[in-house]
């Protein structure tokens, strides 16, 4: 068991190395200077050369690669060419917002998705099954940017319930910085005004993220339940006259829920990828927003830096979830 854990933990640096390599290859394949693109057509040759020299971009590729790796290990993800600021500190300011958003979205997914899946399974082939599967599929097929815009149209421009963007109203000062997550910080310091305002800003993006990712959870819960229904011990439960409620919600659900929980971990990890689109549409200043900005400005350091951080978080979350899985189900032995 310990061996498994160690093996998994050890695999992370290996995979990260691959990730870094992929990122590096992608950004250095570009013909014509990346710097030139970033600085725009008006940059002078001297300026370009100067920047190149500053970032060591004029050295041969292998050397650049080596320096790159070395820097990463030191925690240096490079600097934004445009803003001349270190990527790592910029990420530091954008990251908590994404974390907050993703956690809230995941919570919504569980709260809406699991009951939907159970309902679908217990009313198999009935209207409720049809409806909940329909919602689940609709969730996936809805382009997130479109759903975001539709929600904005309806609730923000139409009904004025929610603001149209940002994280907090300019007139409200953000709560004291403990974790950088506004909801948590404001609750912790008892700052109700900030809390409510932050909530108003975050609810639409979280909802959008949740709806577009709910389908797997619903489907897994439903499939898991249906599979468990066929098991002998469920037949046993029926044979002993247990009520449907007990059979479904106690005996079946606990067995069925495992796959959807592990998937939830994966969903969380995936969402951590910072849903670029949702954050962009809502102008929500998270990691995805940061990365997208970098992409549109073709500023490589933020792009690769963000991608690397995202991948790392993704891997760690996956590992965490896998270990949790082992803990929850003692039947799995190594």
């Amino acid at each position: 068991m310990l061996r498994y854990v160690l093996l998994r933990v050890a695999s992370i640096p290996v995979v990260m190395f691959l990730v870094v390599t992929i990122m590096f290859s992608l950004t250095h394949i570009v013909p014509g200077g990346a710097v030139q693109v970033a600085l725009g057509p008006h940059a002078t040759i001297e300026r370009i050369e100067a920047i190149k020299a500053k970032y060591g971009l004029d050295k041969p590729l292998p050397v650049q690669f080596f320096t790159y790796i070395r820097n990463i290990l030191r925690g240096d993800l490079g600097e934004s060419i445009i803003r001349q600021k270190p990527v790592i500190s910029e990420i530091g300011t954008f990251l908590p917002a994404s974390v907050e958003l993703v956690v809230l979205a995941t919570f919504l997914i569980i709260v809406i998705g699991v009951p939907l899946g159970v309902m679908a399974a217990t009313h198999k082939d009935g209207l409720l099954d049809f409806l909940s599967r329909g919602i689940a599929i609709a969730g996936v097929s809805l382009p997130s940017f479109w759903l975001a815009l539709m929600l904005l149209l309806a609730f923000s421009f139409g009904l004025h319930f929610f603001p149209s963007g940002g994280r907090i109203d300019p007139s409200v000062s953000p709560p004291a910085h403990i974790t950088g997550m506004y909801l948590f910080d404001s609750l912790f310091t008892g700052n109700w005004v900030a809390f409510l305002d932050a909530l108003r800003h975050i609810i639409l993006p979280a909802f959008t993220l949740a709806i577009t990712n709910i389908s797997t959870t619903t489907r897994l819960t439903r499939d898991g339940m249906l599979k468990v229904f066929k098991e002998d011990f469920i037949a046993m439960a029926w044979a002993y006259g247990l009520s449907p409620r007990k059979v479904y919600y106690k005996y079946a659900l606990k067995n069925a829920i495992l796959p959807s929980i592990t998937n939830l971990g994966m969903t969380l990890a995936y969402l951590l990828g910072g849903d670029f689109i949702v954050e962009t549409v809502f102008s929500f200043p998270g990691l995805g927003f940061y990365a997208t900005m970098g992409l549109l400005q073709v500023d490589y350091a933020p792009i690769t830096g963000a991608a690397i951080i995202i991948s790392f978080m993704y891997l760690c979350t996956n590992l965490f979830v896998d270990l949790l899985y082992v803990l929850v189900d003692p039947r799995i032995k190594f």
Partner: protein, 348 residues
């Protein structure tokens, strides 16, 4: 024949179960009749797919779509189970009729402790009080000779062996004080040495008057050693039924004979080689008009393929569905032997 003797626990008549599949309508059980009395073990034997398990499930009304019980009556202690509402049947399940399944290792919910499952059932049927239910559970575990019952209560099913798990299942039936236990191939999945123990255990409870048992199996040796009476089932209907000794000593139906010949200890002629029954079970969708065993029967006649044999009483409680034993056939045989022997000799 409708007089219900006080001894009679269960009476099944004309039970028919159909399944709708994309290939057609499968008649898994067709007009089955049998009865079970208190303090006895009744066997239901047949090969895989003959409908015996479906019959067992029907007793508890556990048949679900695409299956349906389309005809028949199941009278348990004077009440027709098929006429009851679902809620009423649920009160009977476990409390009066209990069932144990073929694979004990998968009959218990793996994510809950054994004790939790026992207590859940006991609280439903016997007493809502948690502590009393717990005690009843422990006591029933003791009765099935499980060592350290209290610690077993806390264990998860996978920590127990197959034999122990099956004992837990029996304990559950005992705890609920069910009067009828439907045992569907209870020992098939267990080691041979454990099989004997479990069977002995079941037998002990029957002899103590705790319950009657419907023992479903494909294994003639199990049925032969355990049952007081047995029913032989083939392709959805019962072909022969009667007291164990009667059937084993003079089996009437060709299928029964073949079954017995396939079991070495029971074959009359020890010198003979084991004979497998040739042919395969007919499709349950396209059932033949006449006797279903006719295609594989060495004694089949034209009448056998044309008409379905009706039930004939051979001797005390011993019935068979076979044209060979119909009154006309016997009369004919007697007539023929008279002719061959000449008049004056006593009939065969």
């Amino acid at each position: 024949m409708t007089v219900v003797s006080p001894d009679e626990l269960l009476n099944v008549s004309d039970l028919t179960v159909e399944f709708k599949t994309y290939r057609g309508l499968v008649t898994a059980v067709d007009g089955v009749d049998f009865d079970i009395r208190r303090r006895e073990i009744v066997g239901l034997i047949g090969e895989t797919g003959c409908g015996k398990t479906v019959t067992g499930y029907s007793l508890l009304r556990l048949i679900r779509p695409p299956g349906r019980i389309t005809r028949g009556q199941i009278v348990f202690e004077g009440r027709d189970l098929l006429a009851m509402k679902e809620r009423e049947v649920r009160a009977i399940r476990g409390r009066e009729i209990a069932m144990i399944f073929q694979r004990p290792m998968s009959s218990l919910n793996p994510v809950f402790a054994v004790g939790t499952q026992l207590v859940d059932v006991i609280r439903l049927h016997k007493t809502p009080d948690k502590r009393r239910a717990h005690e009843i559970a422990v006591r029933s575990l003791e009765e099935v000779a499980l060592p350290e019952p209290r610690s077993i209560m806390l264990k998860r099913p996978f920590a127990l062996s197959g034999g122990m798990q099956q004992r837990v299942m029996i304990a559950m039936a005992l705890a609920c004080e069910a009067s009828l236990l439907v045992a569907d191939e209870p020992t098939t999945a267990l080691d041979v040495s454990i099989q004997l123990q479990i069977l002995k255990l079941i037998r002990r409870f029957v002899e103590n008057g705790r319950m009657a048992v419907l023992l479903i199996s494909h294994d003639m040796s199990v049925i032969g050693s355990m049952c007081d009476r047995m029913n032989v089932m083939y392709a959805g209907s019962i072909v022969e039924s009667g007291p164990k000794e009667a059937i084993i000593d003079h089996p009437a139906h060709p299928y029964t004979k073949a079954l017995l010949q396939a079991v070495p200890e029971m074959s009359q002629d020890r010198a003979q080689r084991l004979r497998a029954i040739e042919g395969t079970v007919p499709s349950l969708i396209h059932l033949p008009e006449g006797c279903r065993f006719a295609p594989r029967c060495s004694w089949a006649s034209e009448k056998c393929t044309r008409t379905f044999p009706s039930r004939v009483l051979l001797e005390q409680d011993h019935y068979v569905n076979c044209h060979l034993h119909s009154k006309e056939a016997i009369a004919q045989a007697i007539g023929q032997s008279r002719e061959s022997l000449g008049a004056g000799h006593p009939p065969a």
